[in-house]
């Protein structure tokens, strides 16, 4: 060890002491847990698309499809690998572990969770574990959100195995796949007990959960469901503010109409989160007032609520000034200026499909990806049931199609959630102690 190296560490200690370390990014491309490492701030190399199997199509199985997203690659815009997990169980969302080495993906019907190794070779993920004890351990059904905290995954669920309505909770598993604890969503003090998304703000020691609907509703044909007034009563109407350290609910906000995805602003110093309510087509802001009391407030409208456009996924820009919103029913992608989050203003919209659900943007905001499938019984039918992934370039004014993949033509199924991986750097796999590693 030389003198120069020693002083490098000493200098780093000084830098830490002075508080001049690089600012911590709260999230990643741009909607992941703030604990997730290895931000992809440049060009993403791969898209991992968690895909519902389709009866009569290909192997009919749910699968993780990986697509080459690097424009410089010979296989750009092509499917380069697919890992089938067996059976169909309503594949839905996925999420990385904190080290970004593993991708957890859940099924809403049979509550199975599949763990893929995406760190060793992100071009070719490998199924390494299947977790089947969620319901047995917790009574919860429908693992939806997979949110990394150090060494663990927090899972937001949608239902339960007794009433199959939306009363549910949060489960915590170790990265090794072992169940650790269960935390019911409150049903008292104005709580409806429903669950959906999770979003953590470590700096404020808080996290938020939103509320959707239970197994009975999400496994019922949408056309039939909307004609059933009793069933339509069983949607979530709350956001819950939790104490992150104690995992105890602190405050319940009334947010009518199934608030779904929650995004904290990524801008350093911002302390607000935004969500969209699916049935009422509204944007809601969660922030604290002058008395440091957290509040939820309706701040905007998405499309024409009378037409039930059904806002589903949202994606916030890294600088906290833009919000993409997909509305499923009219197949439209909207862009809101949220520079003033109390007054969102729509500045762009484009029909991007016959039905659109998930939306993900790159950290630099220059690329936007959308998929079509919402739920197997809620997707449109006939000619409107297109099942695609579309990649767009965004120049600040117009979305331009870069490539698209027809998942039905490719005999893959229905594409749902999208996550990114970076290029494999051989050096990053160079583990000390292996032959010729030094």
């Amino acid at each position: 060890m030389n003198k120069k190296a020693r002083f490098a560490f000493a200098a780093a200690v000084i830098a830490t002491a002075l508080g001049i370390a690089a600012p911590a990014a709260r999230a990643d491309e741009t909607c992941l847990s703030p604990y997730t490492t290895s931000l992809i701030k440049g060009q993403e190399a791969y898209l991992h698309v968690w895909t519902l199997g389709e009866k009569g199509l290909g192997d009919e199985s749910d699968k993780l499809v990986t697509i080459d997203a690097d424009p410089k690659s010979k296989t750009y815009g092509k499917v380069i690998s697919s890992v089938s997990v067996g059976g169909r169980g309503e594949a839905h969302h996925e999420g990385f572990t904190d080290d970004r080495k593993y991708l957890w993906a859940g099924r809403l019907d049979d509550s199975k969770i599949f763990v893929f190794d995406v760190g060793t070779d992100p071009a070719h993920p490998n199924l390494v574990n299947t977790i089947t004890d969620l319901t047995e351990k917790t009574g919860f059904v429908g693992p939806h959100t997979f949110y990394a905290i150090p060494g663990r995954i927090v899972i937001g669920t949608l239902s339960n195995n007794k009433t199959h309505d939306g009363v549910t909770g949060i489960a915590v598993y170790s990265n090794k796949g072992e169940f650790l604890s269960a935390h019911p969503i409150p049903t008292d003090n104005g709580g409806d007990g429903y669950g959906y998304d999770i979003a953590i703000n470590p700096q404020k020691n808080v996290f938020l959960t939103s509320s959707f609907t239970g197994w009975t509703n999400y496994e019922t044909d949408l056309g039939k469901l909307v004609k059933d007034p009793e069933a339509m009563k069983h949607f979530g109407n709350t956001l819950v503010l939790w104490n992150l350290k104690s995992f105890q609910p602190e405050k319940i906000f009334s947010v009518p109409g199934a608030p779904l995805e929650i995004r904290w602003s990524l801008k350093e110093g911002d302390d607000w989160a935004i969500t969209a309510s699916a049935l009422t087509s509204k944007l809601w802001l969660v922030s604290h007032d002058a008395n440091n009391e957290w509040q939820a407030k309706e701040v905007g409208t998405i499309g024409d609520p009378a037409k039930i456009p059904l806002p589903v996924d949202i994606s916030i820009s890294a600088d906290g000034t833009r919000l993409w919103v997909n509305t499923f029913t009219d197949g439209t992608t909207h862009l809101f200026d949220i520079s003033d989050p109390t007054k969102p203003v729509q500045i762009y919209e484009k029909v991007t499909g016959k039905q659109v659900n998930m939306i993900s943007q790159s950290w630099d905001g220059k690329r936007v990806y959308i998929t079509s499938s919402l739920l197997q019984h809620w997707d449109k039918t006939g000619a409107d049931n297109e099942q695609v992934l579309r990649a767009y370039n965004w120049d600040g004014k117009e979305l331009t199609l870069a490539f698209e993949i027809d998942f039905f033509k490719e005999k893959l199924g229905r594409p749902h959630h999208i996550k990114f991986s970076g290029a494999t750097d051989k050096a990053s796999l160079d583990i000390p102690g292996r032959a010729a590693s030094r």
């Binding site: 780093a12 002075l18 105890q248 440091n292 102690g433």
Partner: protein, 232 residues
């Protein structure tokens, strides 16, 4: 070599001490204002995340010791580090947090003798037992109250299974490394371990808040005093 290490250790100590007294916290953790207050120690529970794996480590000489000797019987705060780590979001951040926790324990007599601090080197080729002993000596004055161990291993053959089982991934940053300076990519993780050797909390650079760590330590101390940790 010993003199250089000693000088270096003294430098680190003084800077860390200085940071604790003078500077604002560099941690991206709970802030005042609208942030929710940390819960009272003992009012919440910490999950049993995993058991510390088997391992052989070295402490000051080449005599092999069980890792469990340093991860059970007391409440343990453990971090991986390497002495030439220069990433301000990595080892130095952990060092500063450990220093602040150590100072806080010195002001809490109810925790005297119940907590240990452990740094385990990720670089056994450079961080020899003799060199690390210098760091340990730097904290001998408070060792009876809160000892701080600087451990290493014989080689990566011994180290790799431990870090892999603890969920810590490392790799060589070849671009940043040079012949006399190894740079390791690793995710900062600090492990809080209970009397029985169970990891009960893991902190990253997003959550490495000395106040939260101290609250968790007190929670484990209360749990042990009350005999509440019987479920494992």
């Amino acid at each position: 070599m010993r003199m250089r290490a000693s000088v270096f250790g003294a430098l680190c100590m003084s800077f860390a001490a200085w940071s604790g007294f003078v500077m604002a916290s560099p941690y991206a953790a709970a802030e005042p204002g609208a942030g929710l207050a940390l819960p009272a120690p003992g009012s919440y529970t910490l999950d049993h995340i995993q058991q510390v794996p088997f391992g052989i480590v070295l402490d000051g000489n080449r005599f092999p010791r069980m890792l469990s000797r340093y991860t059970s019987g007391k409440i343990t705060l453990l971090s991986f580090f390497y002495s030439i780590c220069a990433d301000p979001r990595g080892c130095p951040l952990a060092w500063d947090a450990f220093e602040q926790v150590r100072k806080a324990i010195l002001t809490h007599p109810e925790l005297y003798g119940r907590v240990r601090l452990v740094f385990l080197s990720l670089d056994p080729e450079h961080d020899t037992p003799v060199m690390l002993k210098t760091f340990t000596r730097s904290y001998e004055a408070s060792a009876a109250i809160v000892p701080w161990y600087f451990l290493t291993t014989y080689s990566y053959l011994f180290l790799n299974p431990v870090i892999r089982n603890m969920g810590e991934e490392i790799s060589i940053d070849r671009e940043a490394s040079s012949t006399d300076r190894l740079v390791l990519n690793h995710l900062l993780k600090v492990f809080l371990i209970d009397y029985r050797g169970w990891v009960r909390e893991i902190y990253s650079n997003q959550s490495l808040d000395p106040a939260a760590i101290l609250g968790d330590i007190k929670t484990l101390a209360i749990e042990a005093t009350n005999g509440d940790d019987q479920r494992r």
